[in-house]
């Protein structure tokens, strides 16, 4: 974990309201684990004082990139940043995804920026498996060629049917599981909206398969000091708070009190 002044290498919209920001950040880039994130101070946005967390999409040598969606003030203002300009980042932060367990078959499940967050998992996994990407429409499905190029099978679902199969990501997952699941001993790696996490966690529990889920609780400090980002995890018969930024954002799905997640 370090505080680094990164320099923008490339920055452009990629599709819909998603943008790709690539930066030179040798200190942070060198140490990235899949599923970790950086905490970004958006330049020129002084009245919004907090940093914004973004999953590390790619990390190659001295550079890293994030893939972000314009959803509010921070992500709107971030778009003004041009190559050559610099920004303050804090990272790599949090605990990411583990490697796929021996004898298991990796199944990625992603929605929204989750596709970016899982790229390093896909890249670094010695075993290539299957990836389920879901979204509202074609605009929301990211990085399919990149995952395919790494040797993953990608199954796309969209709610409006504009790309891949029509429906929810879990429909495709269920169909696949019924067809091939038993042959495979799946291990789930999930990053997406709360509903998707819960649906995946439920299936993992029912089928008693390991699942790693990345939560996106709002964050303050990003390093474990402010206690903004907490969620309830099991602690024997009771529960305790865990910090998404420190103990997470990736948790063993078994540990989370799903019914309490916001």
């Amino acid at each position: 974990m370090q505080l680094e002044q990164a320099t923008v290498i490339a920055h452009a919209p990629i599709q819909g309201s998603y943008n790709l920001l690539q930066m030179r950040a040798p200190g942070v880039a060198a140490r990235v684990q899949p599923g970790q994130f950086i905490h970004v101070k958006v330049p020129y946005l002084e009245e919004c004082i907090l940093r914004r967390p973004f999953s590390i999409f790619r990390a190659d040598g001295e550079s890293l990139s994030i893939l972000y969606k314009d959803v509010g003030k921070g992500t709107r203002t971030l778009q003004y940043l041009e190559p050559g300009e610099s920004l303050s980042i804090l990272g790599p932060l949090g605990h990411g995804f583990p490697e796929v367990s021996a004898g298991h078959f990796p199944v990625l499940i992603a929605g929204g920026y989750g596709m970016a967050a899982l790229y390093l998992v896909a890249q670094r996994s010695p075993v290539k498996g299957v990836a389920f990407f879901g979204g509202r429409s074609a605009q929301d499905i990211l990085c399919v060629p990149e995952f395919e190029a790494l040797g993953w099978k990608v199954l796309v679902t969209t709610e409006d049917g504009s790309l891949g199969q029509r429906g929810l990501v879990t429909d495709a997952l269920d169909a696949w599981w019924a067809r091939e699941g038993s042959a495979h001993s799946p291990e789930l790696f999930v990053c997406g909206p709360g509903g998707m996490l819960k649906a995946a966690a439920r299936r993992a529990e029912e089928r008693n398969c390991p699942a790693w889920t990345s939560v996106d609780n709002n964050m303050g400090c990003g390093v474990g000091a402010c206690l903004t980002c907490v969620l309830k995890v099991k602690d024997g018969e009771s529960w305790t708070w865990a910090r998404a930024c420190r103990e997470g954002p990736v948790f063993n799905s078994r540990d989370i009190l799903w019914e309490e997640l916001a």
Binding site: M1, Q2, L3, K41, E46, E47, C48, I49, L50, R51, S88, L90, N217, N218, G220, C221, G222, V223, G224, A225, C226, L227, T228, V230, L231, W241, R246, A262
Partner: protein, 304 residues
């Protein structure tokens, strides 16, 4: 020549006047990878009470114009948990450890203070009487002068440690509270705590924070804090520790100018974890450039 930045806050000797503000720097380990704790004037840890506590439900914070609203609700490991889990780590540093304490009753305050009295490695106690979520009956300790007096007196008799009541900002006459603390035997005072505030969500028609109200911190409150610190510093002889929106050396120098003997960096640490160190270095640079030999020559030197 390098100016002398050392300061003494009611018996706590600090190499420079910059502390962390309680609740914004965890218990130390959270920032230890990023910040050399040995270079801090003092480390003030998150509020501790007698027993482990869970704090509030979510959301606990929300961003507002030039500020942060928080109602974390004082989760923590309790006295024993803190001493067991964090003191061994904190004792490895050559930096005074100030424990911020709170209680639900006057007896609890006094008991927490008493328990820390015998813990090695603790340099002083800061008393949070101004947390918006703690009340005794209907009276809030920090905004009722009689309750304030009782709680400070009770703690004073329970501990020999340097005692720093932390004043609530939402009072009409801050000098009254400052003088009362001094009269009750406090060794210093600190201010301001975050300012009671509210944010609401138009879509849900509810307060944004689970706790409904929260405390405002960050640059937005700096001008309010600066006035209160100025008034408090004029009212007492004991040292004043100032906080409220400090995010750079110039901010800190302003608080020192109006009479604070030390400052604490709060919300700004969330943004730039090294803020406290940069503030300390910047104070040194400024005094040197101005030819001021010692911090104490700057403290309270406002012409007004």
């Amino acid at each position: 020549m390098k100016p002398d930045l050392s300061t003494n806050i009611g018996g706590i000797r600090m190499k420079n006047p910059v502390m962390t503000a309680s609740g914004t720097f965890g218990y130390g380990p959270e920032y230890a990878d990023l910040v050399d704790i040995n270079q801090l004037g003092a480390i003030v840890v998150k509020g501790i009470c007698l027993h482990p506590t869970k704090g509030n439900e979510l959301p606990r914070t929300t961003e507002v114009a030039s500020g942060l609203l928080n109602a974390i609700g004082l989760p923590g490991p309790g006295v024993d948990g803190f001493v067991r889990e964090y003191m061994p780590f904190l004792r490895t540093y050559d930096t005074p450890v100030v424990v911020n304490i709170w209680g639900k009753t006057i007896e609890e305050y006094a008991e927490v203070a008493a328990r820390f009295d015998s813990v090695p490695g603790i340099a002083g106690l800061e008393v949070n009487v101004s947390c918006p979520n703690i009340k005794e009956g209907s009276a809030v300790f920090g905004t009722d002068i009689k309750m304030f007096e009782r709680v400070v007196k009770a703690i004073r008799s329970a501990t020999r440690l340097p005692l720093i009541p932390k004043l609530a900002p939402n009072v009409s006459d801050i000098a009254e509270y400052a003088r009362c603390a001094e009269a009750c035997g406090a060794d210093a005072i600190s201010l301001i705590n975050s300012f009671p505030s509210l944010a609401v969500n138009l879509d849900t028609r509810r307060p944004i924070l689970a706790n409904k109200t929260g405390g405002l911190s960050g640059p937005a409150i700096k001008p309010i804090a600066l006035r209160l610190v100025w008034l408090a510093a004029q009212a007492v002889e004991i040292p004043v520790v100032a906080m409220g929106g400090i995010s750079c050396a110039r901010d800190a120098l302003e608080f020192l100018l109006v009479g604070a003997s030390a400052v604490a960096v709060g919300t700004a640490s969330f943004v730039y974890p090294d803020t406290a160190l940069r503030v300390a270095a910047g104070i040194g640079d400024f005094l040197e450039k101005e030819g001021i030999a010692s911090l104490s020559d700057w403290v309270g030197s406002i012409k007004a």
